[in-house]
């Protein structure tokens, strides 16, 4: 076995025969025990703990955590919270895809105080006061600053990033894909989403059913082995774009058809970044309309006090993080966390026991190992936590 380092604490052990990979085992060697640390704590604090699972995708675990607790206690974030979260999430995905740090970190700092580890999340909404007539609130000046940063990001994606990715050689892909859906576009219980949920098996689209997720583990890695209907699933921008395309999402279809080449992981990231950068403008318009109409609510205050919650509750929540589908599950007993479970994108993709990365490596030329593994953009902090 030859060991190849991928990230600070991620490596893959491979066996090579005749210049081709015959065995591959991906493993993580870093563990903190965050799910254990969360037990017994106030569920409203959970997002800050969970957020620190990852400092690269610093918004992902915070979002998934507040959603899980909201689902458990019945809190309903108001429209502004949905828009603020959409803005923050999309900026995070574009940041991870493009590496456009300065512009998008500043965008995040305006909405979350700082990046990494934005600090404006709350169970039931966002802590960002909105008031057109107050200097201490999000107002016309903030919106103008955000618009200028979005314009800069959009320009970079359209004129530099996407053309550069298009010019690079393409990688092949295959297997199963899962997307859990993201970017709610309305405030109903089952909102329309910009990027739909779905499962692709051998090119056949199926509805996403959370009850089909199960977990096992292997001795050789701290990363768990999640399965959907017993099968390993690739998650991430490619999964999102393929599922959206198969679902007939018209923006995605138009953008992909215009490329003239088939998608691969890198190209899916670039196409998605382009669509999200354009979408950011629309969400800023909506936020601006709300401010104009003095729709200033940011939190569901009726569900803030734990006394307003059921004594015992359990829920799961999903979020399409930059690197793919993320799930948090929380069980609350006596208004404290009794159990917490995270399945991160790197858990799906970096899964042991023939997960997507291991499978993509089998049979590949030895010279392609680094390219293939890097195409998944795995995160070692998220994979095991």
């Amino acid at each position: 076995m030859t060991r190849i380092a991928i990230d600070r604490h991620l490596h893959v052990d491979v066996e090579i025969d005749n210049g081709r990979v015959t065995e591959a085992r991906l493993s993580s060697t870093m563990f903190r025990g965050i799910e254990t640390i969360l037990k017994g704590r106030d569920p409203r604090d959970a997002w800050a703990f969970a957020q620190r699972i990852c400092g690269a995708c610093t918004t992902s675990h915070a979002i998934a955590s507040v959603r899980a607790v909201e689902n458990a206690v019945g809190a309903v974030p108001p429209p502004n919270a949905r828009l603020l979260r959409n803005l923050i999430m999309a900026a995070q995905t574009i940041l991870v895809s493009t590496g456009m740090t300065e512009t998008l970190e500043r965008f995040h700092a305006l909405l979350g105080g700082k990046h990494p580890h934005l600090q404006s999340f709350l169970v039931g909404g966002m802590a960002t006061p909105i008031d057109p007539d107050r200097g201490a609130s999000l107002n016309a000046r903030t919106i103008a600053q955000l618009r200028a940063l979005v314009a800069r990001a959009k320009d970079f994606v359209d004129r530099v990033y996407l053309p550069a990715v298009l010019a690079a050689p393409r990688l092949e892909h295959g297997g199963n894909f899962l997307a859990c859906g993201e970017y709610a576009e309305d405030d109903t219980l089952n909102p329309l989403v910009f990027l739909p949920a779905g499962v692709l098996r051998d090119g056949k689209l199926d509805v996403f059913d959370a009850s089909k997720i199960s977990e096992t583990s292997a001795k050789y890695s701290w990363i768990k082995a999640p399965r959907y209907g017993g099968e390993a699933m690739e998650v991430g921008p490619l999964a999102r774009m393929l599922v959206a395309y198969a679902s007939g999402q018209k923006d995605v279809k138009a953008a992909v058809d215009a490329l003239g080449v088939p998608l691969d992981r890198a190209l899916a990231r670039a196409v998605e970044a382009r669509l999200l950068a354009a979408r950011l403008v629309r969400w800023l318009d909506e936020l601006s309309d709300n401010v104009r109409n003095r729709e200033l609510r940011i939190v569901d205050n009726l569900k803030w006090e734990p006394a307003s919650w059921p004594k015992t509750a359990e829920a799961i929540a999903f979020h399409e993080a930059p690197r793919g589908a993320l799930m948090h599950r929380v069980r609350i007993e006596d208004r404290k966390i009794a159990d917490y479970d995270v399945i991160a994108p790197a858990t799906w993709n970096g899964s042991p026991l023939r997960g997507p990365v291991e499978r993509a490596l089998l049979g590949a030329p030895a010279a392609e190992i680094a390219n293939i593994v890097n195409s998944f953009n795995l995160c070692d902090a998220c994979g095991a936590h």
Binding site: R8, F31, I37, N301
Partner: protein, 307 residues
């Protein structure tokens, strides 16, 4: 140097702000051929300190000076939880930090064990100073993450004055941790006037009132967030509308939680019920003034009503 001129000038300005030095002095220090060589080490970390890593490493590329370990992440004392290049984190930390002229701990995890060390600390995580007692010149830059401006400022301080900055009892540089968040807070005037946010999004929240009642830990946290701010001076947590969680303090994940419960004492309590201990003294001042101001405000309202 691998940074652009534009970036360089910006860094000099920001670091100058942290150290209260002119940008020109900072620029001279950073261009010195004796600037230290930095060795990055990552243990049990989320990667959130990598902006600090990156900016420091870029500025100090091809340096000839003494070697300085830059550490992110806590170090597990129980075996098997963190390997670096196949070796236990503790062994690597002892070797590298033990041999370095100085070690800069980036963030609360490297400084004090941080999140992984929170109860029940499943992996026996500790900070660098505890993991490597013989390490020389350990400088802690807690925060979650460390503010990149302060990281560069520490090294500039060394290059400018020929010695490491003075530290407090927790090995934090006084220039960045010598003052309570509360004392430099943008919302401080409202605290002094007894004006508090009662509920998220209420009129006081929108007007920038004090976040004390919703759990702000600014009164017991020392850090220069209000002055240096974050991401090129864009903002900081309290300005964004959320209470300070006190991420620059030891054991804040246990000592400052639940985050949304207000500090003991304060506006609701009489002076007798204020907690004892190191924070108690600070709180006593906070609480006395809070009560006095609230009473004064109520009186003023009464007077206004009478008029």
């Amino acid at each position: 140097m691998t940074v652009s001129r534009r970036e360089f000038v910006k860094v000099c300005g920001a670091v100058g702000a942290a150290l209260a030095l002119p940008a020109r002095v900072v620029a001279e220090a950073l261009a010195s051929p004796d600037r230290p060589a930095l060795i990055p080490l990552s243990f049990q970390a989320c990667g959130g300190n990598s902006p600090s890593f990156k900016s420091a490493l870029d500025l100090f590329a091809q340096a000839k000076g003494p070697s300085i370990a830059l550490v992110e992440g806590s170090i597990p004392t129980k075996p098997g939880y963190c390997l670096v290049d196949g070796r236990p984190a503790l062994d690597v930390a002892r070797e590298v930090c033990g041999g370095a002229a100085a070690t800069i701990a980036l963030g609360n995890c490297a400084s004090f064990g941080g999140l992984a060390a929170a109860h029940p600390n499943p992996t026996g995580a500790v900070g660098v100073a505890e993991a490597v007692p013989h390490a020389r010149n350990v400088i802690n830059l807690p925060g979650c993450p460390a503010n990149p401006e302060n990281v560069t400022a520490v090294i500039v301080h060394y290059l400018t004055f020929g010695r490491w900055p003075d530290l407090d009892a927790q090995r934090r540089p006084l220039f960045a941790y010598g003052k309570l968040i509360h004392d430099a807070c943008d919302r401080r005037a409202h605290y002094d006037a007894g004006q508090y946010v009662e509920q998220w999004g209420d009129d006081g929240h929108r007007a920038g009132y004090c976040l004390y009642k919703l759990g702000c830990k600014g009164p017991v946290t020392s850090h220069n967030c209000p002055n240096v701010r974050w991401n090129g001076g864009a903002s900081w947590a309290v300005v964004a509308g959320h209470p300070c969680i006190g991420c620059a303090e030891t054991k804040f994940w246990d000592a400052h939680t639940p985050f949304y419960e207000h500090l003991p004492g304060g506006v609701h309590a009489s002076v007798d019920t204020i907690g004892a201990g190191a924070a108690g003294l600070v709180l006593a001042g906070v609480a006395v003034r809070g009560v006095v101001n609230a009473v004064r405000r109520m009186k003023a309202n009464d007077d206004a009503d009478r008029d």
